[in-house]
C-alpha cells in the first residue's frame, strides 16, 4: 500500500516537473474568531488520489508547491469540522480558509514547556494547561492564587507555619526552596510574582511529570509552572480590549481566633496574683508592665482601692473585649480596583501588543498597595528566515502600611484581652506597654518624653512604604537554516529594585521609647540625649539583577511519515542580589538634617542601668545565584501516531564550598505516545481523539546546605574588639547525597462524542531515594541539634483525573471541569536510628520514622484521659496510665508508642468548576476539596497563658471539679505551669482532627451583550461580570468549626469573601 502511495507521489512529482510548479500560499483561520489561527493537517487530493500532505504552522500559514490544475483540499483539526474546498492553481493571492469550530472542542492544541511548543497530540509528558478563560473567572492581583481552584494535580499545603507552598503531585522533599520554578515565556522568572499582570497572561501550563519537568533540570524539583503571555497576531487589525473590576473585601472574622474571654482572664489574673506570680515583676527594677487589673489588685492590697471599686473594675474589664475594639476602630472593608487596557495588531511582517494595567488595593487595615504595569511585545520578520521577538515590561509597585491589626498591637509579650483601645466616645486611649504605668507617671521619669502608648494614634506616626520597580526585557533572534534547522539566541534581563522606608516620627512610641531608654540625666539635672530628638528613618534597598542567555538549535523536519522535533542548547543564568540598609537618628523631616550618634560606646539604660550600645542599623549584602546548563530534547513521530521522546539535561550551580565536579547533576527522561484515534480500526464516530502515553524520568534535588567544607559567615564588627567576627554558616556534610526521584507516568488523553467528554487520566508512581530530612543530632558535636541528612527512601503513587463535559440542553449550556487527584506515599526504608517520639511531634512535620506509613504522618501521644481527682492529663508508659510528663515527652515514648492518625497531606483532592450558560448569561461555580488527612488543633497552653496572656478559649471548658473528666478533655489549670505537661497535651491524640473539607472558591456571573447590538458601536464584545471569592467551607469533618487550612498559628485567619464587579470590552 505504502509503495503504491510512493509511486503515485513520484508520478505526481514528475508531472510537476513537466508542467512547472506554482506556489500557493494560504492561511487557516477560525470562522468565529478571525484573530485565531489554526494549525491543521492539509491534504491535497486530485482525482481522489492524495498528492500532498502538509501542515499549517502556529500562525495558520501554509504554502504548497503544486502543478497547475484543480485540487481538492481536506483540512483536519480535532477542534474544527473537516473542511473541504476546491482550489485552482495557479493562484497568486493568499487563500484564506475559514474553519468552523466543532461545537465542543478541545481548547488548546499546543503546550509550552518554555523551551518549545509541543503539539498536544504528539506530546508524551503530562501537562495541565489552564487557559485564560478559566483563569479569568477569578479576580485578583496575583495570577498564581487562581491556580488552586482550577489546576489539576495541584494542592497548596498550609500545614506548616512557614506559609503556603505549592505542591505539584505531592512533595518530594520538605527541604530547600519552597516555590515551584516559574517560567515566564521562555525563561525562569526571579522577580516577585505579583509583578505580573494577570490580564497579560494567555495561559498557564503546569508540567507534572518527570519528562515534562526534566527539561528544567534540578530547579524543577518543586514542579514547573509555565506562564505564557499574550502576543499580537500577524495580519490582524487593531484590537483594543479593556477590563476593569472593583472588589470589596469583607472585614475578617476575629472571633475565629477563639481567645480566652476577658472574664476568664480577669479571674486568672486574680488567681495568679494571690499565688504571688506577679511579685517578681512588681519588685523588678526593670519595671516591667503590669495589666490594669493587676495594678488594681496591688492598689487594693495597699488599701488605696476599695473592694467595691476593685469589683467594679473587674466587672468593667470582664465586659470588654479588645477584639470588639479591633473590629470597630481598626478593621475596615477592603477595596480592590483593577484596570487593564491592551492594544494589539499585526501586519504580514510585524505583530505587536501593548498592554498596561493599574491595580489599587486597600486592605482591611487600610494599607495601600498600588501596581502599574506596562508591557510591549513585538515580533518582527526581518527576512524570510530571520525573525526577532522582543518584549519589555515595566512594573512599578508601591505599598504603604496601614493600621496595626491583631498580633501587631501588643502590650508587652502579648495583649491582655480586655485592653481598651478607646473610651466609650471613641476617643483613643493609652494602653500599658513595656513599663509600669505607676513608674511612668512617677517623678523618676521627669524630663523624659511622654512614654505612653496609644495604639489608635501610633500607626499614624510611622510611615512604612515600599517601592518596587521591575524591568524585564526578552530578546529572541531566530534564523531559519536549511534542512529544518533553526538557530536561535535568546536573552533575558531583569532588574528589580525594592526600596523600603520606615519613618518613625518623634511622636511614635518606638522613637520616644528608644530616646527615653538612652536619655541621661546628670546629677545637676541636665539632660542629654545620646539618641538625638527627632524622627528615626530606616532605609533599605535591594536590587536583583538577573541575566539569562540561551543559544539553542532546533530541528523540525518531516519526511514522509517521519517527523523529528528536537531542541538542544546551553544556558547561562546569573542572578545577583545586592542589598543595603541604613538608619538615621534625630531626623528633622522639615530641614532634612540628621543627628549625630556615637555607636562605639555604651550608655546606661534609663530604667535598668545596664550598658547598651546604640544600634547602627546598617549593613550590606551581596548574593549570587549562577547556573550553567546543557540540554537536549528529541521527539520522533511516525505518521503522527507513534512518538518517542527523550530528554537530558545537566545543571551546575555555584554552590559554595562544593567542588565543581559535584556541582553537576545530569537528569534524563524518556517517553512514548500512541495516538490510537489515528488508527484505522478506531475510526468510529464517537472517538475524536484517544492517546496513550507513558514516560519515565529521573529528577533530583540538591540541598543548598550541601557543602564539602565548613563555611563561615562574616557578621559585623565586634563592639568589644573593634574587629570583625564570624560564625559558622554551614558545616561540612560529606555524607549528604543528592536526593533523586524517579517518576513513571502512564496516561491517556481523550476526546469523545465530538468533544462532549474530554480529559485525561494519568497514573504516576514515584520513588525517591535519599530523601532529605532534618535529623536530631547529638549536640555534643557542636554543630547544633539537627542536621540535614538523607533520611529515607519513599515511594508514592497517584492518579490525576481531568474531565470536561460539555452539554447543551435546549438553550442551556452546561460545562463541567472536574479535577480529581489521589496521592499516597509511604516510607520504604528509614535510614536513621532515632526513635524518640518527640522528634516526630514537631510544629513542622518531619519524615515519618516507620516504614509503611505516609512520608509526613500525623502522630500523637496516646491519651489515657484526665485524672479524675486532679484533672491532670495522662498518657501511657509501658501500657499503664502515667503522669510522668518528662518521660512521656522524652526518651520513654518511642515513635512506635505514638498513635498514628494519617497523612499530613490530603490523599484525595481536586476541584470542580460548573458553568451554566443560558443565552447571554454564564454562571460559574468553583469548588475545591481535600480529603483523607489530619491536622492538630490548638488548645490551652498554661505556660504561655501565664507568661504572655495569650490563651485559647478552651480555658473556659477546662476540668475544674471531679466528674468534669466525663465531658471534657481539657486539662485542669495547675500552678506553677509545667512545660512538659502542656507539651504532652499539645501533642496528644485528643487534639488531632480530620482535615477533610469542601470549600466554595468562587462564583462568577458573566453577562455577554449580543453581537448584533454591539456592531452599531463597533464593539466586538462586551461583558459584565460579578464575582464572589472565598465563600468559605460547605463541608468539614471537624466539629470545632475550624478551617483546616488556617490552624497552624495565631492570627492566621481564613480570608473573607470578596465581592467584585467588572466589565470587559473588546473593540
Amino acid at each position: 500500500m505504502k509503495k503504491i502511495y510512493l509511486l503515485i507521489l513520484v508520478i505526481g512529482m514528475c508531472r510537476f516537473v513537466s508542467f512547472g510548479q506554482e506556489i500557493l500560499k494560504g492561511r487557516l483561520i477560525d470562522e468565529t474568531d478571525t484573530a485565531k489561527r489554526i494549525a491543521a493537517t492539509i491534504e491535497i487530493l486530485q482525482g481522489g488520489q492524495k498528492v500532498l500532505k502538509t501542515r499549517s504552522d502556529d500562525q495558520g500559514n501554509f504554502s504548497l508547491t503544486l502543478a497547475s490544475g484543480s485540487y481538492t483540499t481536506n483540512i483536519n483539526n480535532v477542534n474544527y469540522k473537516t473542511y473541504s474546498a476546491i482550489i485552482v492553481i495557479p493562484n497568486k493571492e493568499l487563500v484564506i480558509f475559514k474553519l468552523s469550530p466543532n461545537e465542543n472542542r478541545l481548547d488548546d492544541v499546543t503546550v509550552s514547556t518554555g523551551y518549545q511548543k509541543i503539539d498536544r497530540t504528539r506530546s508524551t509528558g503530562s501537562f495541565d494547561q489552564i487557559n485564560n478563560k478559566s483563569l479569568n473567572q477569578q479576580v485578583g492581583k496575583n495570577i498564581l492564587d487562581r491556580i488552586e481552584a482550577v489546576g489539576n494535580g495541584i494542592t497548596v499545603d498550609r500545614s506548616t507555619s512557614s506559609g503556603p507552598r505549592f505542591m505539584i503531585r505531592g512533595l518530594s522533599t520538605i527541604q530547600g526552596p519552597k516555590e515551584p520554578l516559574i517560567i515566564l515565556d521562555d525563561f525562569a522568572y526571579s522577580g516577585e510574582l505579583s509583578n505580573i499582570n494577570p490580564d497579560d497572561v494567555e495561559s498557564i501550563t503546569i508540567l507534572k511529570d518527570a519528562a515534562a519537568a526534566s527539561i528544567w533540570g534540578t530547579r524543577a524539583g518543586n514542579g514547573v509552572i509555565v506562564i505564557t503571555t499574550k502576543k499580537g497576531k500577524r495580519n490582524d487589525p487593531l484590537s483594543i480590549s479593556f477590563n476593569s473590576a472593583l472588589g470589596f473585601v469583607k472585614k475578617p472574622n476575629l472571633r475565629y481566633e477563639q481567645r480566652i474571654s476577658s472574664g476568664d482572664f480577669i479571674g486568672l489574673e486574680r488567681y495568679l496574683y494571690q499565688k504571688g506570680f506577679y511579685n517578681d515583676q512588681i519588685s523588678s527594677p526593670s519595671r516591667p508592665m503590669l495589666t490594669p487589673f493587676v495594678e488594681a489588685l496591688i492598689l487594693n492590697d495597699a488599701g488605696t482601692l476599695s473592694n467595691d471599686e476593685l469589683n467594679a473594675r473587674a466587672a468593667r474589664f470582664s465586659g470588654h473585649d479588645v477584639y470588639d475594639d479591633f473590629s470597630r476602630y481598626i478593621y475596615q472593608q477592603g477595596i480592590n480596583q483593577q484596570y487593564s487596557l491592551s492594544l494589539s495588531g499585526g501586519s504580514e511582517k510585524h505583530n505587536w501588543i501593548l498592554s498596561s494595567g493599574y491595580n489599587r488595593n486597600i486592605d482591611n487595615l487600610n494599607s495601600k498597595d498600588e501596581r502599574k504595569t506596562l508591557r510591549i511585545a513585538n515580533s518582527l520578520s526581518l527576512s524570510k528566515n530571520l525573525k526577532i521577538n522582543s518584549s519589555f515590561s515595566y512594573t512599578s509597585g508601591f505599598i504603604e502600611s496601614g493600621k496595626q491589626g491583631i498580633g501587631e498591637i501588643v502590650s508587652y509579650l502579648g495583649l491582655y484581652p480586655y485592653a481598651e483601645l478607646a473610651d466609650q466616645y471613641g476617643n483613643p486611649l493609652a494602653i500599658n506597654k513595656n513599663y509600669r504605668q505607676t513608674y511612668l507617671s512617677s517623678p523618676a521619669t521627669k524630663g523624659l518624653l511622654d512614654w505612653s502608648y496609644v495604639p489608635l494614634l501610633d500607626y499614624a506616626e510611622s510611615d512604612n512604604s515600599k517601592n518596587l520597580t521591575d524591568l524585564l526585557a526578552n530578546f529572541d533572534l531566530s534564523y531559519k537554516l536549511p534542512l529544518g534547522f533553526r538557530a536561535s539566541l535568546k536573552y533575558n534581563i531583569e532588574e528589580q529594585r525594592n526600596n523600603g522606608e520606615l519613618l518613625q516620627s518623634q511622636q511614635s512610641y518606638y522613637t520616644r521609647n528608644l530616646i527615653n531608654s538612652f536619655t541621661q540625666i546628670a546629677s545637676n539635672g541636665s539632660i542629654s540625649y545620646p539618641i538625638p530628638l527627632g524622627a528615626i528613618l530606616d532605609k533599605s534597598e535591594s536590587t536583583l539583577r538577573s541575566e539569562q542567555f540561551r543559544p539553542q538549535l532546533e530541528f523540525n523536519r518531516i519526511w514522509k511519515d517521519h517527523r523529528i522535533d528536537a531542541v538542544g542548547g546551553l544556558e547561562w543564568r546569573t542572578a545577583r542580589t545586592k542589598g543595603y540598609f541604613d538608619r538615621v537618628y534625630g531626623l528633622d523631616t522639615d530641614k532634612l538634617i540628621s543627628g549625630l550618634v556615637d555607636y562605639t560606646r555604651t550608655y546606661p539604660d534609663f530604667i535598668t542601668g545596664s550598658a547598651n550600645f546604640i544600634n547602627s542599623g546598617s549593613g550590606l549584602s551581596l548574593k549570587r545565584n549562577n547556573f550553567f546548563s546543557e540540554f537536549v530534547n528529541v521527539a520522533y513521530s511516525f505518521r503522527d501516531t507513534y512518538t518517542i521522546s527523550a530528554s537530558a539535561r545537566a545543571d551546575a550551580s555555584n554552590l559554595f564550598g562544593v567542588e565543581t565536579n559535584n556541582k553537576w547533576k545530569p537528569l534524563w527522561s524518556m517517553g512514548l505516545s500512541w495516538d490510537i484515534s489515528k488508527m484505522s480500526f478506531l475510526k468510529t464516530n464517537f472517538v475524536d481523539q484517544l492517546k496513550l502515553k507513558a514516560t519515565l524520568g529521573k529528577s533530583g534535588n540538591v540541598d543548598p546546605n550541601m557543602t564539602g567544607v565548613n563555611t563561615i559567615r562574616y557578621q559585623a564588627i565586634s563592639t568589644y574588639t573593634q574587629s570583625v567576627f564570624a560564625s559558622f554558616d554551614k558545616y561540612s556534610n560529606p555524607d549528604l547525597r543528592w536526593e533523586t526521584v524517579r517518576m513513571i507516568n502512564i496516561g491517556t488523553d481523550f476526546s469523545l462524542f465530538k468533544g462532549r467528554l474530554s480529559g485525561s487520566i494519568e497514573y504516576y508512581s514515584k520513588n525517591a531515594k535519599d530523601l532529605f530530612g532534618t535529623y536530631p543530632v547529638d549536640y555534643t558535636k557542636g554543630i547544633g541539634n539537627t542536621v540535614v541528612k538523607n533520611v529515607a527512601e519513599i515511594s508514592g503513587h497517584g492518579l490525576d483525573i481531568q474531565l470536561q463535559t460539555k452539554n447543551s440542553i435546549g438553550g442551556l449550556i452546561w460545562n463541567t471541569a472536574f479535577n480529581f487527584s489521589s496521592y499516597k506515599d509511604k516510607v520504604l526504608q528509614y535510614y536513621l536510628a532515632s526513635q524518640q517520639g518527640s522528634s516526630f511531634l514537631q510544629p513542622n512535620p518531619s519524615v515519618s520514622g516507620i516504614e509503611g506509613l505516609p512520608v509526613y504522618s500525623v502522630f500523637s501521644y496516646k491519651w489515657a484521659g484526665l485524672d479524675a481527682l486532679t484533672g491532670d492529663p495522662m498518657g501511657f508508659i509501658n501500657g499503664l496510665p502515667s503522669k510522668a510528663y518528662n518521660l512521656l515527652t522524652g526518651s520513654d515514648t518511642k515513635v512506635t508508642d505514638l498513635t498514628y492518625h494519617g497523612s499530613v497531606l490530603p490523599r484525595y483532592f481536586g476541584n470542580i468548576v460548573n458553568s451554566f450558560g443560558y443565552s447571554n448569561i454564564t454562571l460559574s461555580v468553583g469548588l475545591s476539596f481535600k480529603f483523607d488527612y489530619y491536622f492538630r488543633r490548638r488548645s490551652i497552653d498554661y505556660s504561655s497563658l501565664f507568661i504572655t496572656g495569650a490563651g485559647h478559649a478552651d480555658f473556659q471548658n477546662r476540668w475544674k471539679n471531679p466528674g468534669d473528666e466525663n465531658f471534657t478533655n481539657i486539662p485542669s489549670m495547675v500552678y506553677p505551669a509545667i512545660l512538659a505537661r502542656d507539651a504532652f497535651y499539645r501533642y496528644s491524640d485528643v487534639l488531632v482532627e480530620k482535615g477533610d473539607h469542601v470549600r466554595v472558591q468562587y462564583v462568577n456571573l458573566d453577562y455577554n451583550f449580543d453581537n448584533s447590538l454591539l456592531q452599531h458601536f463597533e464593539i466586538k464584545s462586551l461583558s459584565l461580570y460579578t464575582n464572589i471569592s472565598n465563600l468559605g467551607i460547605i463541608y468539614r469533618a471537624n466539629k470545632q468549626n475550624l478551617d483546616p487550612e488556617y490552624v497552624t498559628s495565631s492570627f492566621n485567619l481564613p480570608p473573607r469573601n470578596t465581592f467584585s464587579i467588572g466589565v470587559r470590552v473588546t473593540l
Partner: protein
C-alpha cells in the same frame, strides 16, 4: 556537507565558550559574606564571636550553689520548670532538651577546635599572630571543659580514675561519636592545653574578651585549685598577678549606682559572662542572710555588691553588667594565691597577700590588717573572704565540691513550702545529670543520681 561543517564549527565554538564562561560563573561566591576559614583573619574572627565564646558560662553552677535563695511564691512563679527542679537538686530533667548549656558549651568547643585543626592543617607560618590565635583557642576550649567538669563531673580527687567526666571531642568530625572520658583525663587535658597556651600567648590582648597569657595563667591557677594541687595553683596565680596586679579601690565607686562596676574594669583579666537565669536574677534571687551578715561594718562590698530592698539583698556587683561575670579577675588570683600560700604553711605571707586585696575593699583608713597564728585559722579566714569576694562568680559550686572533698562538711539546704531539702557533702548529686536527650541520642553513661 558544507552546512554540516558549519553546524559542527558553531557547536565547537559554543562548547569552548561555554566551558570558559561556565567555569567563571560557577566559581563566583554565592554569598559575598561567606568564606572557607583558612586565614588567620578568619580564625581570629571566629574566636572574636564573643556571643558564642565568652557569653556562655554555665549559670547552672550558680543556680545549684548556696549564695542565694528564693521565696516559695517566687519559686512557684518561675516559668522555667527546669530551674525549679535544679533549685532543690532533683534527680533528673534539670536541662531543657536541645537548647541548653551542654549545647552552648560544645558549640564553643567546636569553634575552638575548628580553629586549632585549621591552624594545624594550614601552611601558615608559625608567627606571633599564629601562636596568639592558637593560644586563644586553647584557652577558650579549656574554659569550657573546666566549667563542664565542674558541673557534670564529680570533684577531682583520688578516686577519680574511673569517675566519668565529660566528652573531650578530640576532633570536629561530626561523624565521630561522643563518649565520656574520666574526670581525671578531663582535668589533665585542661592542664596540658593551658600550659601549651601559656607558651603561645602575648601578655596582653587588645581586649580582655580575648584570652591573654595572664588569662591562661589565671585559668590554670583556678584549674589546679579545683584539683587540690595548691603548689601549682599558687605558682600560676602568682604568674597571673605578675602580669596583672591591678586592684580597684572600692572607695572610688558609688554604691548608689544600679551597677557600680563597669564592664572591662581594671581587675578583669579574662572577660567571660552569662546573663543571670530568672531564678538568680536581681529581683528574685535573695542573698542568704549568713553571707550578708559576714560583711563587717566598713566593708564597702556590702553596699557595692548588693541592692537592698527592705530586708532583702539582691546581687548587683557583677563585673560585666548586666550579666554575671564568671571570668578571671585579679581579686580571685589574690585569694587563690593567699589560700595556697597558707596551705603550704606560709601563713604570714598568705595573710599579707589577702590584706593587699582587702585594703582596697574597706572604707579608706578603716581597714585593720588581718592576722592569724595558725594555718587552720588563716585558712578559715581566707576561705570566708573568698566567699565574700567572689559572689555570683560561678566559683562557689566548685569550691564547695573541693572543700567537701577535703572534709569541710558544707551542707546545702533549701526550704520549700516548709520542707527542708539538703545536699550532703560529696552527694552524688554534685555531678548534675547530663541532658536526657543527649543520653538517648548517644547512649552515653548518665551520672548516677
Amino acid at each position: 556537507m558544507k552546512f554540516r561543517n558549519l553546524i559542527c564549527s558553531i557547536c565547537c565554538t559554543i562548547i569552548v565558550i561555554s566551558n570558559l564562561g561556565c567555569k567563571k560563573i560557577l566559581d563566583e561566591k554565592s554569598d559575598q559574606q561567606l568564606v572557607i576559614p583558612t586565614t588567620l583573619v578568619d580564625f581570629q574572627a571566629l574566636l572574636d564571636n564573643s556571643g558564642f565564646l565568652n557569653n556562655q558560662d554555665l549559670i547552672s553552677a550558680e543556680i545549684s550553689a548556696d549564695d542565694y535563695y528564693i521565696t516559695d511564691t517566687d519559686l512557684a512563679a518561675l516559668t522555667n520548670d527546669y530551674q525549679r527542679r535544679m533549685y532543690n537538686w532533683q534527680k533528673d530533667f534539670l536541662f531543657a532538651p536541645r537548647s541548653n548549656e551542654w549545647a552552648t558549651t560544645y558549640r564553643a568547643v567546636y569553634y575552638s577546635s575548628t580553629v586549632l585543626e585549621g591552624l594545624d592543617e594550614s601552611d601558615l607560618p608559625h608567627n606571633t599572630q599564629f601562636n596568639n590565635i592558637k593560644g586563644q583557642a586553647l584557652v577558650f576550649r579549656s574554659k569550657c571543659f573546666l566549667q563542664a567538669l565542674g558541673l557534670w563531673g564529680k570533684a577531682y580527687g583520688n578516686a577519680n580514675d574511673t569517675d566519668p567526666g565529660i566528652p573531650l571531642r578530640p576532633s570536629t568530625n561530626f561523624n565521630e561519636e561522643s563518649y565520656r572520658t574520666t574526670v581525671k583525663e578531663g582535668y589533665e587535658k585542661v592542664v596540658s592545653d593551658l600550659q601549651a597556651a601559656i607558651q603561645l600567648l602575648p601578655d596582653k590582648q587588645v581586649q580582655t574578651t580575648r584570652p591573654s597569657k595572664a588569662a591562661a595563667y589565671g585559668l590554670l591557677a583556678r584549674t589546679y585549685l579545683f584539683m587540690g594541687n595548691y603548689t601549682q595553683a599558687a605558682k600560676f596565680a602568682d604568674s597571673c598577678l605578675k602580669l596583672h596586679p591591678t586592684l580597684i579601690d572600692y572607695n572610688t565607686l558609688s554604691a548608689s549606682d544600679r551597677y557600680p562596676f563597669t564592664s572591662f574594669n581594671n581587675e578583669t583579666v579574662f572577660a567571660t559572662w552569662i546573663p543571670p537565669a530568672t531564678i538568680v536574677n536581681s529581683s528574685r534571687g535573695k542573698i542568704v542572710p549568713e553571707l550578708i551578715a559576714s560583711y563587717q561594718a566598713n566593708d564597702l562590698r556590702k553596699g557595692l555588691y548588693f541592692l537592698q530592698t527592705g530586708s532583702f539583698y539582691y546581687f548587683k556587683g557583677t563585673y560585666f553588667q548586666p550579666a554575671l561575670f564568671f571570668g578571671i579577675a585579679s581579686d580571685e588570683m589574690y585569694l587563690t594565691l593567699a589560700e595556697c600560700q597558707i596551705r603550704s604553711g606560709l601563713v604570714d605571707l598568705g595573710m599579707e597577700t589577702l590584706n593587699k586585696l582587702l585594703v582596697k575593699r574597706f572604707k579608706t583608713g578603716t581597714f585593720v590588717p588581718l592576722a592569724a597564728s595558725d594555718t587552720e585559722t588563716a585558712l578559715k579566714i581566707v576561705l570566708a573572704e573568698r566567699r565574700k569576694e567572689l559572689v555570683m562568680r560561678g566559683i562557689r559550686w566548685m569550691d564547695i565540691k573541693r572543700l567537701n572533698a577535703e572534709g569541710r562538711n558544707i551542707v546545702l539546704s533549701r526550704t520549700i513550702n516548709g520542707t527542708i531539702y539538703t545536699l550532703q557533702p560529696n552527694d552524688k548529686r554534685y555531678a548534675l545529670p547530663i541532658p536526657e536527650d543527649v543520653i538517648s541520642l548517644t547512649g552515653m553513661q548518665q551520672n548516677d543520681r
